[in-house]
Amino acid sequence: MSCEEMSGLYELYALGILDPEEKVELEDHLRTNCVTCSAELRRSLYRNAMLAAVVEQVEPPVRVRRRVLAGIGIERSRTLWVGAWAMATACLVILAAVLIMANHRQRELGDVMSMLSEPDTRQVDFGNAPAAVAKGKVYVNARRGVLLTASGLAPAPSGKTYEFWLIPKGGAPQPAGLFEAGSDGEALHFRKGPLPGNSAAVAVSVEPSGGSPAPTTKPILVIAL
């Protein structure tokens, strides 16, 4: 076959569907380093990519992105180090929306920003098990405090509220503030200030409005720090 005759086969070759006898002839020719046909092969690859891409749009689940990043082993490092600003920014956007709408908690926002920007602030993920009642993150800084962000958390029953607890190693839970979950299942809670040196976990329980000095129900979340 001449170069011109072969030019009609390169898309099929690039797709891996050329019949064997034609493929042998074409590959023999390519091994001669024919400039014309090498260029035609590249153009065919590009045309194939264009045509393959004419497909109906489907939005991938959000978890695919996480899987891709985790698959090359950078998700954690990105999360903890390089991406700390990006995550803090995303978190702050949520916080800003919530806090600014509340219109009286700018000081708390400043405290949260300060805590998130500290290099020794750690992040702990929770709720990845299928049966988890909620999922989210806890940001911990021994000097600045602890921030809880959660999603998928049902609003507390009427007359009840969520209470956050600091649990020291071998000790009783200590009250760390009350919070509510929004109708969208999102919740944020910041407990400002130094943590007890032996803090081993945080927890969330459902308590009567006004809170309790000690948990009166079994915690729905217990997150080891």
Partner: protein, 197 residues
Amino acid sequence: MIPLIPLLSALIDPGNDPELVRRLKNRDPEAMADLYDRYGRITYSLIYRIVRNAAMAEDLVQETFLRIWNRVHAFDEQKGALSPWVLTVARNRAIDYLRSVDGRRRESVFELEKMEEPALFSNLENDIMNMDRAQILREAFLKLSENQRTVIELAYYEGLSQSEMAERLQQPLGTVKTWVRTALKTLRNEIEQAAIA
């Protein structure tokens, strides 16, 4: 009919791909996230179109990006075209999966991988890179007969050889070859004429 809602913004506007490739080569973790943000949706859409299984599509998207990550060192960021490379890898991963589940794998793994060499995606003409391909492809597909569209779908989205198409469609091999080559010629001419215009 082939669904013709195009997903070609990434192809139409290669944007700052050379810089992205350079960052990938430098193992910048943010670059991988940027690569996914740029090509994740088109990659998932293409793979899902081929395998028709969401869970498997997720696996194959991950495999596609892993492959890009592992081979990007050989990609020429100055002369290379990133989007066709990513799409070729994605399409090949999906086709390889299809072939593995229906026993058609043969030597295809090697065949397909040969077509993913980064060097093959260099020195593409700028006029091809800058056209409004979405409209061109829409119009080009409309010029194909139903049989021609069918064989193009079987080639691109199922990875069937012409012999396999003939068997599937219960048509003589010569007839299928005519449909395929006429369809490809039509598409090629439309794209290239539009590039010249």
